[in-house]
């Protein structure tokens, strides 16, 4: 029998305390703006004018939320932000499906079929990801107007697909590259061609990565402002653009409660995605080891 000697290691060391203090401060730093927005949206205008930014509202007043949804004015029309919501959904869904689909096929091709010049192409794609958006906007507008894609849903979906391609390809290529090459050999011996082996073997193995890709793309596309403003056209302006219009349209008094409520409504989708899928996100990132 061996008896332990020496002092038992302490659970709570100064390092621990420092670490927790840092974490708490960081959390407070990021949560404070959210808190201010929520309480402000629930206050009445006289309360807001009183100026106590961090104070709780006297009573729960959801009127601003209703106004933000369906009565706030952007320019001449006063239909609230709801139209923007549906516009954003109409941009998001096809952009999401197309960009992830194209990224998955590209990543699969690069890692399992090794086309001639594939590595170079992939390098270029990654390099392009570091070029700022703004550089592309003017040339793209010119090209779009030549081919008649300006101010259309198809146009904005194509833009999101193009700008999403580097990240999506990287994500899927790395995932597939970690799988044993023998898997694709086995599929070939079994007679599965390019699409069959993609659809029945590789794609089902990529579910965790698809979730990660969805989170990245939903957040990115939903939060986009400039691309939507430039390419979507007046009929399809996304929610972010409409939010900006609401906040900047003032007739008389600035309605902070409505602005806050509209902002929260806009942020709802990415917030929900993180809350629902945070666990999946971590799992997907960590799911490098898919062993047979």
């Amino acid at each position: 029998m061996i008896t332990p000697y020496g002092r038992r290691p302490r659970r709570l060391t100064p390092q621990r305390i420092g670490l927790y203090a840092f974490l708490l401060i960081t959390a407070a730093f990021f949560l404070t703006p959210l808190y201010v927005m929520v309480v402000t949206s629930l206050k009445t205008m006289p309360e807001i004018r009183a100026g106590n930014l961090l104070g709780l509202p006297a009573s729960l007043n959801f009127e601003a939320w209703g106004n933000a949804r369906s009565r706030a004015c952007t320019g001449l029309s006063c239909n609230g932000i709801q139209l923007g919501f549906w516009n954003s959904v109409r941009i998001l869904i096809p952009s999401l499906v197309v960009s992830i689909g194209v990224g998955a096929v590209t990543g699969y091709t690069l890692s399992f079929w090794r086309p001639r010049g594939g590595t170079l192409l992939f390098g270029l794609l990654i390099a392009i990801a570091f070029v700022p958006y703004q550089v592309f906007i003017y040339p793209l507008v010119r090209i779009y107007s030549q081919v008649g894609l300006n101010n259309s849903l198809a146009g904005i979906v194509l833009v999101h697909t193009m700008f999403g391609l580097p990240t999506m390809t990287l994500l899927f290529r790395n995932h597939f590259a970690a799988l044993p090459i023998e898997l694709s050999k086995a599929a070939r011996v079994d007679g599965a061609g390019f699409w069959r082996s993609f659809g029945e073997i590789m794609l089902p193995m990529a579910v965790p990565i698809i979730v990660v890709a969805m989170i990245l793309q939903v957040t990115g596309i939903w939060n986009d402002f400039i691309l939507g403003l430039v390419f979507a056209g007046r009929e399809n302006l996304p929610m972010t653009v409409q939010l900006n219009n609401i906040v900047n349209t003032t007739t008389g008094e600035r309605t902070y409660d409505v602005d806050m409520a509209a902002t929260l409504l806009t942020a709802l989708v990415p917030l929900a995605v993180y809350f629902i899928s945070g666990r999946w996100f971590v799992r997907g990132i960590a799911a490098g080891a898919v062993k047979g």
Partner: protein
Amino acid sequence: MSNVSLRDVEIRYGASQVLDRLDLDIGAGEFFVLLGPSGCGKSTLLNAIAGLTEVASGTISIGGRNVTWEEPKDRGIAMVFQSYALYPTMSVRGNMSFGLRVAGMAKAEIAARVEKAAGLLRMTELLDRKPSQLSGGQRQRVAIGRALVRDAGVFLFDEPLSSLDAQLRAELRVEIKHLHHRLGATMIYVTHDQIEALTLADRIAVMRDRKIQQLGTPQDVYQRPANRFVATFVGSPAMSFVKGRIGEDGSFVAGDIRVDLSAYAFATRPVPGQPVELGIRPEHVARAETGLAGVIEMVEPMGADLLAWTRLAEAPVSIRLAAETRIAVGDRVRIELPGRHLSLFDLASGARL
């Protein structure tokens, strides 16, 4: 069952040559083993037969049909991989039937074939499990089952037992041998394990540096290795070697020892004075009253038998003895090297004499 023949096959990766003008004929129903250390080109050769690696020139025929440019699925082959390469999202049944589903076979026929293969491998109760719920040995059994359902003329095995532990390896080895007897199919088997090669093969091709060093039956390869590399690579415990030369009377001379070679079957006659190396397997070293003198330096009990180490002309030589032999370090022994069991190699080229 089909025969396989390769003519002038050449394989390149970019600028480097992997296989150079290789000819090989494998008979129908034969169990053929490609044996060699890693990087010797044996897996590349197997992949070329499967159609997974392109050949730069030459022809590959399976069952008398030239398949050099055909897709793997059209070659009448089935393959088992070292890493199992099971489809992780499909059940065992799904894994086994995938190839047949791709080929568009009728459902009833698929079910019958899967049942038959599963029965043959005694894994019917595993059919609805996912690969992740199986042990290593079971996974490799599924991989073999996936090959079986294809009803192929040639089965290709790429180091199928290398990632299993020793006991399972021995177990599955026997099972593969049984399978070969029952199916009578042609099997080409790649391994770096000489025991697997010796136990399974009808014929072995020992490869090194992208070339076949020796092609022959296991007995041939074991008893008459074509060169020093084959002699060291095959056999465990390994062959012992003593450096020396050919004496004036045609016997082997090293220092003060002399070994009579009158019973040795020479492939090529050596000239007196030629530097040579003499190889002898531990089980062929005999104790004899009139033999060469040595001192025991180490004793390795191995369960079934016992390995004793001595020294002849500075070179360590091992002797295989019965397990119950009473022998200890420091004992003096007299041993004999029987001429008909020796292997003699040219010192410079390593080729058998």
